[in-house]
Structures are given as structure tokens and as C-alpha cells.
Symmetry: C2
Subunit: 230 residues, 2 copies
Amino acid sequence: MKAQTGTRRRGGSDAQRSRSKKREREIIDTAAEIFHRQGYADTSVQDVADAVGILKGSLYYYIDSKEDLLFQVLVEVHEDAQGIIDDVGSMDATPLEKLYEYVRRHIDYNTRNLSKIAVYYHDFGLLGPDRRKEIVKQRAMYEDFVVSVIQEAQERGEVDDTLDARLVANAVFGTMNWIYTWYRPGGRAGPEYLGQLYAELVVNGITGATMPAALPARKRRAAKGSRASR
Amino acid sequence: MKAQTGTRRRGGSDAQRSRSKKREREIIDTAAEIFHRQGYADTSVQDVADAVGILKGSLYYYIDSKEDLLFQVLVEVHEDAQGIIDDVGSMDATPLEKLYEYVRRHIDYNTRNLSKIAVYYHDFGLLGPDRRKEIVKQRAMYEDFVVSVIQEAQERGEVDDTLDARLVANAVFGTMNWIYTWYRPGGRAGPEYLGQLYAELVVNGITGATMPAALPARKRRAAKGSRASR
């Protein structure tokens, strides 16, 4: 894990490497849970070792510092997020169908990986400057993906092309990412339901939305009513 | 400021109290900016005193601890947020017009008070348990307001009444509050434009959104198309 991705290669059989990789993910997941529960500042490497059930010395086989643990949580989230973008990007579907599917899957992931997502968004500022820069660059990639899908929908005339696609994308990320601040597993909405509801709100929200900033509010609402009959 | 609201009363004339209140707000605003810029953990009471340009001893006229400063930032945000709810709640308007106006004004406030809002959402977990509980209770109030407005719109048949109003409200808060993570003053979107755009996306998103969870995605999209002609 000292390199950005994957297990340290110190030789050994495939089976050994597979066990090592599995242990590595267990360490990262556990670190994310503890960071989320008691805060990064109040967590020690010893806390993580205790929770995993290994000696602190063994943990240092995988990492050099607590910040390494934090960074690895973020790298794992990024790899998963990239996987969703790859899947959705290669769908044979319209831009709005892709947007729907992206929101649905991203929320499914967020709700099932709350601790990692909370750490990803809340604590990334605690990284050193170089690593922080790397995370910011990765995030720009998700944003670019959503922006491009919205722009494709605009080119097809399915979304008002006067809307600023990047500002709209930020609204979409707000809807998806704010979830870590309030969602608790076991509540009345499961990942599937929430993913579908929010995908519906997002796609419905940008389909037909207009930005006649110069019109007073009451005329705007009237304009909205008339749009439905077009 | 040791009491929850307002300046310590140590007597003095109205003019003295007014000056004291003004200084108090200056201290709170400065504390918010420093917490936001360098992080609560890395900020000392001395840093705040230096930035305001008073002696640390003078700062202790207003507060007992750094946590008092944090709490006062949150109390100030709450009072402002409550003011918006009171204004919008008393409007002579339909529920959706109220929702539009609430989103617009909340975003206008968020973009003009980025540091305070960032501290409000990012750092409230650093308060002691009693004060944290108080903030959570206050937040539930804003949520209840948005939920009630959505429910009124559902009762009037303007929003699909099978949608869960509380989950929809959480999406609305995500759109509004995520702003502190990406918005920078002086960018291409000013507070007015962003408030109008997001209010439009939110109101448009819930107007006509349906939740036919049992339908496959492609039928759902078809159903959406047909809705526009109703």
C-alpha cells in the first residue's frame, strides 16, 4: 500500500498475495469505520490494529503512517467510483439514461459504503498537499463525466442549452454526496429505493428546467406550466 | 456570548451595548473565517484575537473557550436561517412558490457566508454532546419546514403524493448545502444566479417526478414522456 495502488509485492505465491490483498482491504475498511466513528484526529494506528486484531507492527507491513491509511481509504473510493463511471460510460443508452443510471449507482455505492464516503468527503483536507492535489484531480474527473453527459443531452435538445452544465453537475453531486451526512442504514429507504428516487429527481429536475433569469418569479412559474403542453 | 444568545449584560448604556454587539459579531465572523481557512483543530484563541486585533484577555470578555467561539458561529447561522424560514413561511404564496423562494434565499445566504456555513456543516461534530444535540434539534426544524411545504404541495396535487417528502427534503438540502464544498466567490455564478438556477432545478425536479419503483427503467422513461402531455 505504500505505492498508490495495491499490495506491496514482496514475492510469494498467488495465494499469499490474495490473502495479503484481502487483509489490506479489511484494514482499509476498518480504518474508515473508526475514522468515521471517532474522528481522524482522535484515532491512532494502534486503534486500527486493535480493531483488525493484529499487532501494530504487522500493520506497518502495509502502511508507514496514519495518513497512509487515510489516503488508502480515498484511493479505494476513487477506484470504485471510477468503476461506476467506466460501466455507465460504456452503456448503450441516451445521455439522460446514463445520468439516471450514474446517480442510481453512485447513491447505491454511497449508502453501502457510508464510512468510506464520509471520510472521503469530510477528511480529505487532512492529507498533505501533494496527495490532496491528487484527490482533487480525481474528483474533477467525475465532475467532467457528469458535465459531458449533460452537455450531450443539451446537444440532443433534451436539456435547455442555456443551463450551465457545470453548475448543474454540482447540484447533482450535492444531491448524491450529502447523503453521508444524514443516511443511516436500516432506515425506511434502502439503497435501491433512494437511488431510484434521487435519479428520478435529478433527471426530472434538469429535463425541462429553464433559466429565464430576467423574468419575475410569477411569470417564470407560468412559463413552466406552458412548457408541459409543448 | 456565554449565554446562548447575545452579548453579556454587564450594564452600560445602549450605545455601549451596541458597540459590544458589533464587536461580538466581528469576533464570530473572524473566528469562522480562520476555522474555515486553517481548520478548527489548528486554530487557537490567540489566532482569533490577533486577527480581530484585540488582546486575548479582551476576547475572554466574550467567551470562555475556543468551543464557545465555534458554538457562537453555529448559533449565528441558526438565527439567520430561522429568519429566512420566518420570512418565507409568512409569504402569501403557493407551497411550490415558497419552496422556490426558500431555496433561492438559502443559497443566497450560503454563498455570501461561505466560511460560517462551512464551519456549521463541517465542524459541528466537534462540539460537546449537549451543544451538538442542540444544533441537531435546530436542523430538524429547517428540515420540518421543507417537509411541510412539500406535503402541502402534495395535498394540492402539485407533487406526486407517493414521494417520501422527507427523503425529497434531504435531496433539497444536499443541493443547497453542498455549495460550501465547491463555491468560490468571484466565480462565474453570483449568489443571485445560483439561487435562481438551483431553485428552478429543485422545484422542477419534484414537480412531475414519479416513483414507479416496480417499472423497469425504460418503461419509466416512457411514462415520463407521456406525463408531459397530461
